[in-house]
């Protein structure tokens, strides 16, 4: 019995449909962030919009509860630029803040645990907030929260994932809370966010006007 032949057009159509379906129904990390990579092909891409899409991707596709992205400005200070999942009042409080490079590594200000090369964990018990940041989280909620297992997050926990550019220059950071189910992000989710930080770092290496 002769083998069935498959027209090239059919092979192409199957692959194309599978590609489009995966884009609309992400089932793995690269599907979740691939839409962002497609945006980057546009030479006239607006950085602010891209960052907002990145934040939305983290909350919508990676199921992270809250996400913010901050960048280094022309004056050398680091400021929050976009957010997803925060209360409006908390975001307004974030927008008023700025940081120097030294403050990122200051353990007396922000006690952290290094999780990976790019990622630091800040736990509510260590009160990783300085004066002026009180409105960026809900202190009453933090005081009421209790951690019942090693996987549970409570109000006040967060992770920072750093965005690096050429020659180890710190260009910004992604800040995420726990997952929407009240747990810490899995190591895979953390690594996806690190990958996203790399993608943002790539974007920032392109000559662009400053983000507002």
């Amino acid at each position: 019995m002769p083998a069935e032949t498959f027209p090239p057009e059919l092979i192409k159509r199957r692959l194309w449909l599978e590609y489009q379906y995966a884009s609309s129904n992400p089932s793995n990390p690269v599907d979740c962030i691939h839409n962002l990579i497609n945006e980057l092909a546009d030479p006239s891409l607006e950085l602010q919009k891209f960052l907002q899409d990145a934040a939305n991707t983290m909350t919508e596709r990676l199921c992270i509860h809250e996400a913010t992205i901050g960048l280094k400005d022309a004056d050398g200070a680091f400021r929050y630029k976009v957010m997803a999942g925060l209360e409006d009042s908390e975001w307004e409080a974030h927008k008023r803040l700025s940081y120097t490079l030294d403050q990122f590594d200051n353990q007396s200000l922000y006690k952290y645990k290094q999780i990976g090369k790019y990622t630091r964990l800040y736990l509510a018990e260590d009160n990783p907030y300085r004066e002026g940041e009180e409105e960026t989280y809900s202190k009453p909620l933090m005081l009421q929260s209790s951690r019942k297992s090693l996987e549970d997050t409570i109000e006040g926990d967060y992770l920072d994932i750093y965005i690096y550019g050429n020659k180890d220059e710190l260009l910004g950071w992604i800040e995420i809370s726990g997952m929407k189910n009240g747990k810490f992000p899995s190591s895979e989710t953390i690594k996806v966010v690190e990958l996203l930080a790399s993608v943002i770092g790539v974007t920032l290496t392109r000559p662009r006007p400053n983000v507002a």
Binding site: R14, E18, G116, S146, V199, V202
Partner: protein, 217 residues
Amino acid sequence: MFKKEEILPVVEAGDVARKLKLDYARGVKDQHEKAIEGTNELWERILQPDVEMKTLAKEACEFICKRFGIASTAIALRSPVDLKYRYEAVAGMSDEIVAGFMKLSYTRDELLNSSVYKSHEVSKHSCIFLGEEHPYAPGEEFSYSHPGLMGMKRRSLTDCLEADYIDTFILDASGEIAGYIEISGTRLRKLPDTTTIKWVELIAFMIGAALRLRHHG
């Protein structure tokens, strides 16, 4: 300023942090997590300015072959001197075939010549070339590891033939083609799945950034 005793932890903060760090470093990793780690490591290498493009291209080719089960991978880049595309690195083929690859060069028009290289678009950045349509110019037959298999028939939609390949374009800042990543089928003789194609597109994007950082072209 609140007092630590106002929070009544059931578990110690130190234990929480230790567990997360341990899971991150030594937890069971599936193929996705390994792909993410490898891609992040590639980006770290890209950010080291003393690593040459040829070395990066080679590492990227080897990573794609190893992590995604691709039989062979090649990366070609546009020369800043004559604007022709030449292979910088090949993985998964014999030294003899690789030497042949390195002698090839294409102008932009030759690269996009659909009468010689008939392709089908998979996405904005990737095209598939199918063996039934003889997607190779005369003299390029050496580039196949098993030329004796070239006449085989495709028995299913996911089967890969010896002459099948997928090109993913590497773009420069203005959206022009700065190079391409070329992958053949998988070692199981199947066409790469779309997840693999998307990973290759991500890597192509990073290679594009590497070119910009090194002012290549």
